[in-house]
Subunit: 291 residues, 2 copies
DNA sequence: GGTTATACATGCGATAACGCATGCATGAAG
DNA sequence: CTTCATGCATGCGTTATCGCATGTATAACC
């Protein structure tokens, strides 16, 4: 048993994590046959069976779990290294990955992205629109824009904007509410909310929950289609065509918009450049976010 | 900058450690051209210059030092993994590396080695004779035999024998000392010792230092050739032809013989088998080591 | 001044690693 | 019962990687 090939250890880890040759191969950007071959190599090198080949796939043995655990620790060190290299990198070229909620990318960021692109054409800007929070420690992205109350404990952050939320609906609903405030009002709620906001229920007792969604884009679409009233951030209601603010809810504070990055990565030239552009851009847009 | 190839990180580390392409290649068992190519790949992947190509070789940049440091931490994890795999391995086949001082291997271990070989023919036994202490944590060897006072803090150990040392010389010297105890006596000292052992100086005031060596095999050879008297472990003086114990020094306690291994590796089947064989063998040889 | 050793660059042929296409087994869905 | 999707094995042609041989530059030594 000599020195193990590190890339093979990584491959064992990927297979343990992802469960199938194909999934592991996709994660490693390799053909799954290559994964199978590397597993075979690793088993030969380590002198141990790492996976049992069953009809429905590769099942890791204890030894494979041990390998995967250690490879995971190696990976932590690799990510640490990558962050530090990115943080000390002074060039304004190469890849820069940012992540943000879909709706911010769609309705708020385009101007800043275009400006950044013009200023730093050599930077390969990759934008990952996702509502899942990517792991900035693992360098799934260099810089994140998040809607939350704090930047998070391990991340360095900068508050880009305070936000308010309000109630929005189609013009038809706005008219109806103005004419007859006592008529039934249909609400579309985000799934985590139990009930219509208390202020609305008190002022408009005829409020009723009609739909529960798990996705804000879908909710906004439903509101545009006239299915009901949605509480959403000011910027979103104002940005979407076919929606108007309705007076059911007084504007109230919402989670702020933060720009965050891992402290290792924060001082990198590309991250710094993007920060500066976005910070200045957002300064001009503050009115969009508050009542 | 995407995921780095771990083997390339390892290669950067090897080049930083060993200083030249050729030395790094030797350490990795690769041709040095391959090392050069991997460095180039790593630089492309990381988007950084890692080494400056000067007339007299590759000089690492700060970035390379950073990479090397992190790769070193990855390597610690790898060695940890290898030890654990070895420790849980129940097979009695494959590689087993032991290390011991040259003189023990030459004059004490052969019987045990032969017996082990007969009992476990499928084990690839590699014996590394060295006076440097190999790093058992880094798996330079699985099991070590050492002459020391303790097994060391991080290692598990078993005392194989207590030892005495005494003074030995050629038959000519033995005769001379017996005839005329007052005549000048030439000593061959190990370089770390300042002077003739105090007991000998007091009993034989005509003792004088004639040579200082840094190698016990050479000293023994010189003693066999009649150049003088050497203080050495009993087992050695008794094992070497052409040497006799001389009464200049009363036998005195010497460092013990230990068998040591990293606790992770200790329970491995091959290590355990070797331990048992050697332990039993050494039990029959205890008289060789003490006065 | 010529010889030797070290350290690297470069080009070429050999080899090992890889991707792709095909085929088989299994289980779920229509 | 058929169809489709998932998961893997195997064989083949391609690509990338590697080792080797050769050449250059520099420094050390006699």
């Amino acid at each position: 048993m000599k020195d193990a090939a590190w890339d093979d250890l990584k491959t064992v880890m990927a297979l343990v994590r992802h469960g199938s040759l194909a999934a592991a191969g996709a994660a490693l950007r390799l053909n799954y046959t290559t994964v199978a071959r590397r597993i075979a190599r690793a088993e030969a090198a380590l002198g141990t069976t790492l996976f049992e080949r069953l009809k429905d796939g590769y099942v890791p043995t204890d030894a494979a779990m041990l390998v995967a655990a250690h490879a995971g620790e190696m990976e932590v060190r690799e990510h640490d290294l990558m962050r530090r290299l990115a943080g000390r990198d002074g060039t304004l070229e190469g890849a820069l990955t940012i992540t943000a909620p879909q709706l911010l990318i769609a309705y708020v960021l385009p101007a800043a992205l275009a400006q950044f692109r013009g200023l730093y054409p050599k930077v390969d800007l990759k934008v990952r629109a996702t509502n899942d929070i990517l792991d900035l420690s693992r360098r799934e992205a260099d810089l994140g824009i998040r809607i939350s109350r704090t930047p998070g404990d391990t991340l360095t952050g900068l508050r880009l904007a305070e936000q308010h939320s309000a109630s929005f609906a189609s013009p038809g609903w706005a008219e109806r509410i103005a004419k007859d405030p006592g008529a039934p009002i249909d609400w579309i709620l985000y799934e985590t909310h139990d009930d219509v906001p208390k202020a609305a229920r008190e002022a408009y007792p005829s409020s009723r929950v009609q739909y529960r969604f798990d996705d804000m884009i879908a909710m906004a679409g439903a509101a545009q289609a006239g299915l009901g009233v949605v509480r959403m951030p000011m910027f979103l209601g104002r940005s979407l065509p076919g929606l108007m603010q309705v007076p059911l809810l007084p504007p109230q504070p919402y989670m702020d918009v933060w720009m965050v990055a891992h402290p290792d990565v924060w001082p990198g030239a590309k991250v710094r450049a993007f920060r500066d552009v976005l910070k200045a851009d957002m300064k001009t847009r503050r009115a969009l976010f508050v009542a």
